[in-house]
């Protein structure tokens, strides 16, 4: 496991280097400058802009700027955000927790609802309920996230007034509430954006999970379990669910970085100050170091999330553990490895 983690760390550094290079070059090659601003002040002269370029080292050749950026990055200095006039890491420190909270809530909704619904549909294929939920999930899957967010906001925020229409906490009263009240306030603000992201994610997870369950149900070891007289609940819980969940863990590995690097539209609709909104604003303002930093961070997150997914699969799937421990494998199965049922665990291991 340690060697595996070290390999992944090395991969993360390589990914970060590649992403930093591409993002740095692309944003610098894009037309425009972070120092031009909105351009609507007639007194912002070329001289003022030239002075600002000198102050920030933007008058240097691109390769000099790039070398300096990499050297600083290696020392842990991610540069300065031009639009916020503070270090990029400080900007991340403010935005990341908000994104993390939203992503976590959305992921919980996504996988709890998605897996639950998918398993139910898979165990009751072609039933009336299955057909109904298939249509619901297909519709949700087709709906753009910003539209769903706007509808939820209009109905539950603006019209019914059950939830706030934006922000992370109540701007006036939050500091005055007791800890439990603060938690409640946070949850109320979190509800609509998390439900927006969670529902759309759950729709896709449910469809994926349903297909997995149907595939596992057709395996020989499931038939064998039924032949041994196990109840349907035992078959579903011990044999079907565990095997059908393994590919979904990889889905989790893909979903996590997407959510963490920012649900751009949903964050904008709900005025949620996370990484997605930050990225959009940074690109619009040509905030070079902030854009590059966000890209590097997203690269790290992709590697980290996939590593996490691999670890979860490793913990959940005994075959991967056996494959990494040949002596244990030999002790259990003898010199030659027996054939295993495709896509599932052998019934003898249960």
């Amino acid at each position: 496991m340690a060697a595996f983690l070290v390999r992944r760390l090395g991969a993360a550094i390589l990914v970060a280097f590649g992403v930093a290079t591409i993002a740095f070059l692309l944003i610098h090659l894009a037309p425009g400058s972070p120092l031009i601003g909105s351009g609507e002040n007639p007194y912002v002269s070329a001289e003022l802009i030239a002075q600002a370029q000198r102050n920030f080292g933007l008058d240097q050749p691109l390769w000099v700027q790039y070398g300096r950026y990499l050297a600083n990055l290696a020392r842990g200095d991610w540069g300065l955000s031009f639009s916020q006039q503070r270090p990029v890491l400080e900007v991340f420190r403010d935005a990341l927790p908000n994104t993390f909270i939203l992503a976590l809530a959305a992921l919980i909704l996504d996988f709890v609802l998605g897996i639950g619904l998918g398993v139910y549909q898979g165990l009751h294929p072609h039933s009336r309920a299955d057909r109904f939920w298939s249509r619901v999930t297909l519709t949700l899957y087709a709906v753009p996230s910003f539209w769903l967010g706007l509808m939820l906001l209009l109905v539950f925020g603006k019209t019914l007034g059950w939830f706030p229409v934006g922000g992370v906490v109540d701007p006036v009263l939050y500091p005055l509430l007791p800890p439990a009240g603060q938690l409640l306030d946070r949850l109320r603000h979190l509800a609509l954006p998390a439900v927006t992201l969670g529902l759309i994610g759950a729709a896709s997870t449910a469809r994926y999970q349903r297909a997995q369950v149907l595939e596992v149900l057709g395996q020989d070891y499931v038939r064998a379990a039924r032949a041994r007289g196990l109840s349907e609940t035992a078959v579903a819980l011990r044999h079907v669910l565990r095997n059908a969940l393994l590919p979904t863990i990889n889905l989790f590995g893909l979903a996590l970085p997407t959510l963490l690097s920012g649900a751009v539209l949903v964050e904008t609709v709900f005025a949620w100050p996370g990484m997605g909104r930050l990225a959009v604003e940074a690109v619009a303002r040509r905030d070079y170091f902030l854009v590059t930093g966000i890209a590097v961070l997203a690269g790290f997150l992709v590697v980290a999330a996939n590593t996490l997914a691999d670890i979860l699969v490793h913990l959940a799937d005994p075959r991967t553990r056996e494959a990494r421990r040949p002596e244990a494998h030999r002790a259990r199965f003898g010199a030659s490895r027996p054939a295993q049922p495709a896509g599932g665990l052998p019934p003898t291991t249960r």
Partner: protein, 596 residues
């Protein structure tokens, strides 16, 4: 929900959470009926449970936005929640966006400020701020006497040293303040004594007083004098400022909100509001939703008729039309983008420019994209400017006249309806910033209107920084730009005179007669004669048609009904926020949430 109960319960909630009570260092709630609460607190062993229930009930009521009616406990309460973009930094000399200036004016003070009549010639109409009085020692020497009661929010008195330091900061090239070019005629600023400042100008000129007071917000030298100037913008002070204005800084939650508190010892009198919260919203649509939902009290809503329509149906809001001192225009490049030494093949001709101007029905454009809040400019100025006159007229909408001019110049309609001369189509590229919905929409209408007279327009929608980069480099035929102006008409000098070429006159428009009139107007001390000269200059530039003056953007300031004494200063809508107050008979729960 009973309002008193909310107040009491919030206090109980604070107590349970170990939040301090009045007079301590953290935010707190003041209950209107504290005595009743204390009586409850003296009750028996079941009290913790009761208080807990009370707190939860209050929290639930507050969070569901129940309105309350009560009175201010000591005659001073009121929270204004406003919203908009996030400021870049709360340090006026280095802030580059509007919100920075808006909030900066609540936190920091100037020596004097404009009154309700935004006249910039002489010193009449200016209101004292840090300077309680001033006097001209001679034509180039101005002496300010500081108000001895003025102090920084940390309690330190504001002194002449702070004023001298501030001018030094604003004029320092290392700081690179946007206001630096406006202070070029100030020769020196010195402290005569601890509360007297002398400003000397390099020459006498009519707007000397305006320059001395309007652009510089006085900064605390004792906080900033050791900060390297080139690093001033990044100094933590910019996110935790200490000012001398009517409101003091409380906190800034990045991406969420900035909180200010009224300074009860403000030297010009206690502000009417106890607390101001500036919420960060990513778009105008979000702002309108928050206003309509009652989560935000005050909003500056630009343009977009559909958004304004949404607000019209909200009973809790009053809408105040607000004229913005800005104009949008389609500027013609006088130089050939391929070879700047040559005149532009189309726009080098004043006749062509006039014909294009006359072919655009600006009134219908403004009506379509701005509705009732927009205005049609009669030159590069707005009605709010003190040089405005109803007699000013831009070129009229006259398609027959436009066709006649183009025919006379030899541009004949081709088979596709587009005019040609010597085999060349009458066609040009129009740069439009993609970030401006207003300009994108109106550019399409202009394209259609010009097509009717046989002119083809290729619209290139680009992000604003690319448009500006191409405009500055002269790589454009026509560009749809806008200028936001300060109260002085001198901005015209930057934008349209020969001196402005290389600065803000991207079109390279140059007319010595116009330059001369502007020069005379800027040196004229008599306000009426100055106004007449400015108007002659505007009439001349209208005839030269270096641009089509497209629109003056309108705005609405939406304000919750419970606010009283609402006044909007013509040049800066939030500048008089400290004079607003809430109706004590229409308080909301948030009005009782105060900071010490």
């Amino acid at each position: 929900m009973n309002g008193s109960l909310v107040g009491a319960a919030l206090r109980a909630a604070s107590a349970r959470a170990s939040l301090p009570v009045l007079g301590s260092a953290k935010p707190q709630v003041r209950a209107s009926d504290a005595a009743r609460l204390e009586a409850r607190q003296r009750q028996g062993p079941r009290e913790p449970l009761r208080r807990s229930l009370l707190a939860w009930t209050a929290a639930a009521a507050v969070l569901t936005g129940c309105e309350r009616r009560s009175t201010c406990p000591d005659g001073w309460c009121g929270t204004a929640v406003s919203a908009g973009a996030e400021p870049d930094v709360l340090l006026p000399p280095v802030s580059q966006i509007d919100v920075g200036a808006w909030l900066g004016d609540l936190l920091f003070s100037k020596l004097a400020d404009l009154g309700s009549a935004p006249t910039t010639v002489g010193d009449q109409g200016f209101e004292p701020r840090l300077a309680e009085r001033w006097a001209w020692e001679d034509s180039i020497t101005l002496r300010f006497s500081l108000n001895p009661r003025a102090h920084w929010h940390d309690g330190t008195p504001v002194t002449a040293r702070d004023v001298v330091f501030s001018f030094d900061v604003y004029r320092d090239p290392a700081v690179n303040s946007g206001a630096r070019p406006l202070l070029g005629r100030i020769a020196s600023v010195t402290a005569a004594d601890s509360h007297a400042v002398v400003v000397r100008f390099s020459q006498p000129y009519p707007e000397a007083f305006y320059d001395a007071v309007y652009h510089v917000r006085v900064l605390p030298a004792h906080w900033l004098d050791t900060v390297p100037r080139a690093r001033l913008a990044q100094h933590p002070f910019g996110r935790h400022p200490v000012g001398s204005g009517p409101f003091r800084f409380v906190r800034w939650e990045a991406g969420q909100q900035v909180e200010l508190a009224g300074d009860s010892s403000y030297f010009l009198g206690r502000p009417g509001l106890r607390r101001v919260i500036w919420r960060v919203v990513p778009s105008m649509a979000t702002l309108v939703t928050q206003l309509a939902a009652g989560e935000t009290d005050i909003g500056f809503v630009l343009g977009a008729p559909e958004l304004i329509q949404q607000l019209r149906g909200v009973a809790s809001l009053r809408l105040w039309p607000y004229a913005i001192n800005a104009y949008g225009y389609i500027g013609f490049n006088f130089r050939d983008p391929a070879n700047p030494a040559r005149a532009h093949p189309l726009f080098g001709s004043a006749e062509v420019r006039r014909a294009l101007s006359m072919a655009v029905d600006r009134r219908s454009v403004v009506s379509a994209v701005l509705g009732e809040v927009g205005d049609v400019p009669e030159g590069p100025l707005t009605r709010g400017s003190w040089i405005w006159s109803d007699s000013l007229r831009a070129l009229p909408f006259d398609t027959a006249g436009a066709r006649h001019i183009l025919d006379r110049l030899g541009f004949r309609p081709g088979p596709d309806g587009i005019r040609r001369r010597a085999g060349r189509r009458l066609e040009f590229e129009l740069l439009v910033p993609v970030t401006s919905g207003l300009r994108r929409s109106s550019a399409v209408i202009v394209q259609e209107q010009l097509k009717r007279v046989g002119v083809a327009v290729r619209i290139s929608e680009l992000d604003i920084s690319t448009v500006m980069a191409r405009a500055r480099a002269g790589r454009f035929d026509a560009a749809y730009l806008s200028w936001v102006q300060d109260p002085s008409p001198r901005a015209l000098e930057q934008e349209w005179t020969t001196r402005g070429i290389g600065a803000s006159n991207y079109q390279h428009y140059s007319n010595p007669a116009f330059d001369r009139l502007v020069q005379q107007a800027t040196l004229e001390f008599d306000r009426d004669r100055a106004r007449a000269l400015w108007q002659q200059a505007v009439a001349l530039i209208n005839q030269d048609a270096p641009a089509i003056w497209m629109y003056v953007p309108g705005a609405l300031v939406a304000v919750h009904q419970r606010f009283q004494d609402v006044a909007l200063r013509p040049d800066l809508w939030m500048a008089w926020l400290w004079k607003w107050r809430v109706n004590p008979d229409a308080l909301l729960p948030r009005d009782l949430a105060v900071v010490p």
